[in-house]
Amino acid sequence: MRKREYLGQLELMVLLAAIRPAKDAYGALISREIAEKSGREVALASVYAALERLEEKGLVVSTLGEPTAERGGKARMYFKPTAEGLQAAREAQQTLIRLSSGLTALKGETV
């Protein structure tokens, strides 16, 4: 059986951003989604590195699109979460909720 690995913060953000769009997600779209929701710009190369790690862990799958002229003849790579990916995101969300419940320091009061 494969060893269970924890998701890093960027990996989790990328996974959640890949789950969000109605149609298949791609690097630039995921990067924009993260920037919009977190207020932090993430370099595209970092997003692709995280996607590669997620793919190695079997949490997302990629499919190659058609090359287009506006992309300089390069094809777009689309990413889709797998069932394991959705499960991992769900578990991470529940763990974070459990860990943060009842923490008064997180309610906006300074300690």
Partner: protein, 181 residues
Amino acid sequence: MSERTPPALALWLLERCGSGAHAQSLTGDLIEEYRRGRSRGWLWREVAVALGVALGVALVRSIRTMPWMIVLRASLRLAAETAAVLAIAAIVDQSRRSQVNSAALDMGFVVIVAALITVASLAVVALIRTRSMTNRRHRPAEALVGLLMLAFGVIALGTGTFTRADTTRGGDGPRTECNCR
């Protein structure tokens, strides 16, 4: 309106040095975003990060997949360089001493220098022979280890030179005879 063309050098660097399964897709995304109105500064920053990420990934992969070979080659290189430097230092020291004291060639010195040259030569031969056992993927890790060793060598040699200079200066001063029995 004409389409904005991204800097050719940036794209060339990405294609030449970038890595990863999705390198083509990343380049395409960068071109697309640039044509949507991103600045040249943004594109160059992204390229710099991409090169850094590619180097980091290559380093981690090569260290994970074949650490023993990198350690072996680093040790061989260290042995070769140390032996060569020590041999040169011994020859320089001996020639300086024979100029000052007109001392005859010491047999011990000859043996030590011969041993050092042998060690350096053997290590160089082993390094050349093991080169074919590593592939291109391990070169970044090897380069990093080499760089660290060079830095260590420069620091060690510099410290050694200063220590020797201090000792020599101290040795030239007035000496007091020891009366102890």
